[in-house]
């Protein structure tokens, strides 16, 4: 009964979505207020229906109703409750339902919070949002019904892939989808603006908070996934340039570019058609990611069970959405009027440089991800593109990006003065050069990249702090006035600084952990001692213990430093029976200075065990950096100007005037 209710709710949802897609669009074209007004309640209804359906599927999982094929395939009665629930989205059908739930959630949110939008724009945005909804709802109803029944019902389920039975991975997909799907709002706004034929600073101001929210969630989702890979896959890596990782990274790069170019639209009324294009591309890349993961076109460790029929459907949908919106763009974009003029050296110019580098990065990831497919289709040769390609591309692209990042926020709008800014930053430049020289002298061991990375970190941190210091006139006026200025700075300014510091922290973590990692792989017998990262690790032994739905080989290391006890690390190797698979649970001692990372492996049959021991200096800053970026996003999001939306232009100006020449940049 419950599954049927869920299925029925989905059918109702597609009917509502169809109405929401058609009627308000016609209403907007005819300026018919009543027809346009249907959009908002329809969006809310669609959300409640999909939520009902999602709850029904969750109930089937929680009660282990194996008469539902999806539950049978992906769950097991012995599984801990949290993984029964996360099992709902640990498979193709369920994750698609989650995707749709989030899509309708965003639609309902636009309906709820979009009261300050012009009625025709709101109607069109919701209509476009509903068109996407119709596409995905037909996908799930026609090719991937999560409520299909089995008769007779099996007694026990197949179980969830043990690698996925992990807390970080339980919440990783929802965040990722919030990001992917959140970009649909920017997309809908872009398409609606193209239909309206009007893009102005107000439009950018409406779009930015949605993009910011989606970007923050996407950052969180990717970061969680990478942290999961770090401690679960057991070789201490945290990013593998796997096609599915790339599928989430490309929209992130596009969304990051979009965040920055929308600032130019908002402040200077320029870069309009480029910004619209970015909004379309960011969501298109999300859809492309969905296609790559679910069609089996590319080989990946993440790929869901695939099915050619689904591939054809998503591809058709992809072509309709992306092809349609890009064609609309080709028709309408030339008629968008360009706004403010600017010199290449200016705040706009640095934001353009940011966009140029980010979109080049995005294009190279796209090329690297699809290259095996291109080659296979043209020559039949099968290849895989690995980390060497991506690393070779990313270092030269990110270096100028980070170098410019220090200068950009201090540049004036319209016409900047690079030498002047560098003059203001002369102390920072000097300290950076000294730091680089010191690194070169002190720790240089043939890795020029490490020196470069650390120099960039110093440069970025100092220039961010310097920029803030200039704004609050640190040490130039009394401490009281500085405090008043610091409090008076808009939150979006703090958001920017925090996010940029996050970038610096990430570069710090990446550089240090790659350059100065220590790694030992050996066989250890009880009593053996190994030294790594200044710690002495004594292997006590290993034993096999039962867990809730697995058995675990647990090794024990007593960690001491200079003879003083530090901690005991107990890595596990878990053997699951349903389905049969092994996972490693690394035991990690995380500190701000570095991670001690231990993995226990096979017994050698003579009393020894294969172990891997790593010391990864500063590695945790990679994820703390992403936390700072997300924090920056949240700070910007809480800025009053973004919350209130468009009509606050005048207030902002008076506010900014109070802050004198430093200005109210983002």
């Amino acid at each position: 009964m419950v599954p049927e209710l869920g299925h029925y709710a989905l059918v109702l949802a597609i009917v509502v979505a169809t109405v929401q897609a058609v009627i308000p669009q016609i209403g907007a074209a005819r300026r018919d207020a009543a027809w346009m007004a249907i959009a908002a309640p329809a969006a809310r209804a669609q959300f409640w229906l999909v939520l009902l359906s999602f709850i029904c599927l969750t109930i089937s999982y929680v009660t282990s109703d194996f008469s539902v094929e999806n539950v049978f395939q992906n769950s097991h009665s012995l599984k801990p409750m949290i993984y029964k629930i996360s099992g709902v989205w640990g498979n193709h059908e369920g994750s698609l339902l989650l995707w749709i739930l989030i899509l309708t959630l965003f639609g309902a949110a636009v309906a709820q919070f979009g009261d300050n939008l012009p009625p025709s724009l709101k109607a069109r945005v919701l209509s476009v949002q509903a068109m996407i909804g119709v596409g995905f709802l037909s996908f799930i109803l026609f090719t991937s019904n999560p409520f299909a029944r089995l008769d007779p019902a099996p007694l026990e389920g197949n179980g969830l892939n043990p690698l996925l039975q992990d807390p970080a991975l339980a919440i990783h997909p929802p965040f990722l989808y919030l990001g992917y799907v959140g970009l649909s709002v920017a997309f809908s706004f872009a398409v609606a603006a193209l239909i309206e034929g009007r893009v102005d600073p107000a439009w950018a101001r409406w779009v930015r908070p949605w993009t910011l929210a989606a970007w923050g969630c996407l950052t969180a989702g990717i970061s969680l996934g990478s942290y999961w890979a770090y401690y679960e896959l057991g070789w201490g890596g945290w990013w593998f340039w796997d096609p599915v990782e790339n599928a989430s990274f490309m929209p992130w790069l596009a969304a990051t570019a979009l965040l920055h170019s929308a600032i130019v639209v908002e402040k200077r009324d320029a870069l309009k058609s480029w910004t619209i294009l970015l909004a379309i591309l960011a969501f298109s890349l999300s859809l492309l990611g969905t296609f790559l993961v679910r069609s089996g076109v590319l080989n990946s460790v993440h790929a869901f069970a695939t099915d050619p029929e689904r591939g054809v459907f998503i591809l058709a949908f992809l072509i309709a959405v992306v092809g349609g919106s890009l064609t609309l763009f080709a028709i309408r974009a030339p008629s968008l009027k360009g706004g403010g003029l600017f010199q290449p050296v200016s705040r706009e110019g640095t934001l353009v440089l940011n966009n140029l580098l980010l979109s080049t990065a995005c294009a190279t990831v796209l090329l690297g991800t699809l290259y095996p497919l291109f080659l296979d289709a043209v020559t039949g040769e099968k290849v895989s593109v690995g980390a060497p390609y991506f690393n070779a591309i990313f270092v030269p692209l990110m270096t100028p990006l980070i170098a410019a990042l220090g200068v950009g926020p201090m540049m004036a709008w319209k016409r900047g003065d690079l030498l002047g800014v560098l003059g203001r930053l002369k102390l920072v430049v000097f300290v950076t050069l000294v730091a680089a020289g010191f690194m070169f002298w002190a720790v240089y061991d043939g890795m020029l990249l490490a020196v470069l990375g650390m120099a960039l970190v110093v440069w970025l941190v100092l220039s961010v702090v310097w920029e803030w210091g200039e704004r609050v006139k640190l040490f130039r006026v009394g401490i009281g006035e500085t405090w008043a200025r610091a409090r008076g700075l808009p939150r979006s300014a703090y958001g920017m600084s925090l996010a940029h510091l996050g970038v610096a922290l990430m570069v710090l973590g990446i550089t240090a952990s790659e350059a100065w990692q220590e790694e030992i792989q050996t066989i250890m017998r009880p009593g053996d001692v190994q030294q790594v990262g200044g710690f002495d690790l004594t292997f006590v032994g290993a034993q096999t213990l039962p867990g809730p739905n697995y058995s675990a080989l647990t090794g024990s290391f007593v960690v001491t430093r200079d003879g003083r006890p530090v901690t005991v690390l107990q890595p596990e190797k878990r053997t699951f029976t349903n389905p049969p698979e092994e996972t490693t649970e690394a035991a990690i001692r995380t500190t701000f200075a570095g991670d001690l990372y231990t993995v226990v492996g096979e017994a050698d049959g003579e009393g020894g065990y294969a172990v891997r021991l790593y010391y990864k200096p500063l590695v945790v800053w990679i994820w703390l950096g992403t936390v700072a970026m997300i924090g920056g996003g949240l700070a910007s999001l809480s800025d009053r100007r973004l919350r209130v939306g468009a009509p606050s232009t005048r207030r902002t100006e008076t506010h900014a005037a109070g802050l004198a020449a430093a200005g109210a940049g983002d």
């Binding site: 896959l233 070789w235 890596g237 593998f240 320029a270 870069l271 309009k272 058609s273 480029w274 294009l277 591309l281 069609s295 089996g296 076109v297 080989n299 050619p308 591939g311 591809l315 072509i319 992306v322 092809g323 890009l326 064609t327 763009f329 080709a330 974009a333 030339p334 360009g338 706004g339 403010g340 003029l341 600017f342 010199q343 290449p344 706009e348 110019g349 353009v352 966009n355 699809l370 095996p372 497919l373 291109f374 296979d376 289709a377 040769e381 099968k382 290849v383 895989s384 690995g386 980390a387 790694e519 792989q521 049969p580 698979e581 092994e582 492996g601 096979e602 050698d604 049959g605 294969a610």
Partner: protein, 199 residues
């Protein structure tokens, strides 16, 4: 990124140029779409199985620096042996590596390495770090032999019998499950067959 110049240059550009610029994304996407459509009918996991039950192609590869034994077709003389295609840049190779080490330690089956499109010094460093499970290693610097074998991704493992015929091929890392359910029974069977043929 056309618009920066566009904005800076004002409205000097001819409308036709703007149209072409607008069309560019559509064209790029159409190309990608065409490839994606092609991709649907290609399965990255299917093996060009032409070489299965065929003899190993003729090859003779030099050893890694510091290693003595290279790998050639004439070296494949055991009743069963594995030829494991690996590279230091290949992440999945690290996944299967402990299992190869264990197989070597227990003497399950001779394993030969085909070091595919790798920097020889990188490969040596990699083996020093993680251990060397291989009897012989041939360096396939430009991937020429790999192409003859039909290698399309790394790691890949060929099971070769005493007559130099490829009996089976494993795509991707060898997992404990593949070892238990596929590889070990196959090795036992091949050994038994070879024993029956040569009493």
């Amino acid at each position: 990124m056309t618009e920066a110049t566009e904005t800076a240059a004002g409205a000097r550009k001819a409308p036709a140029t703007r149209w072409l610029v607008g069309l560019l994304p559509v064209v790029v996407f159409a190309t990608i779409g065409w490839f994606l459509y092609q991709g649907l009918s290609l399965d990255p996991k299917t093996i060009p199985s032409a070489l299965i039950n065929k003899p190993v192609p003729e090859f003779d590869l030099p050893p890694l620096p510091g290693h003595e034994r290279g790998l050639s077709r004439a070296d494949l003389t055991e009743p069963v042996q594995l030829v494991n295609v690996f590279a230091s840049w290949c992440v999945a190779c690290r996944v299967e590596h402990p299992l190869l080490m264990e197989m070597q330690r227990k003497g399950v089956v001779p394993i030969h390495g085909l070091n595919y499109k790798d920097g020889p010094s990188d490969a040596v460093a990699w083996l020093n770090q993680y251990g060397d499970p291989y009897d012989r290693i041939g360096v396939d610097l430009n991937g020429r032999v790999g192409i003859d074998f039909g290698v399309y991704g790394v790691p890949e493992t060929f099971i070769v019998d005493g007559k130099g015929v490829i009996v089976e091929k494993i795509i991707g890392p060898i997992t404990p499950m593949i070892l238990q359910e596929k590889l070990l029974p196959l090795i036992a069977k091949m050994r038994a067959d070879a024993g029956a043929a040569r009493p």
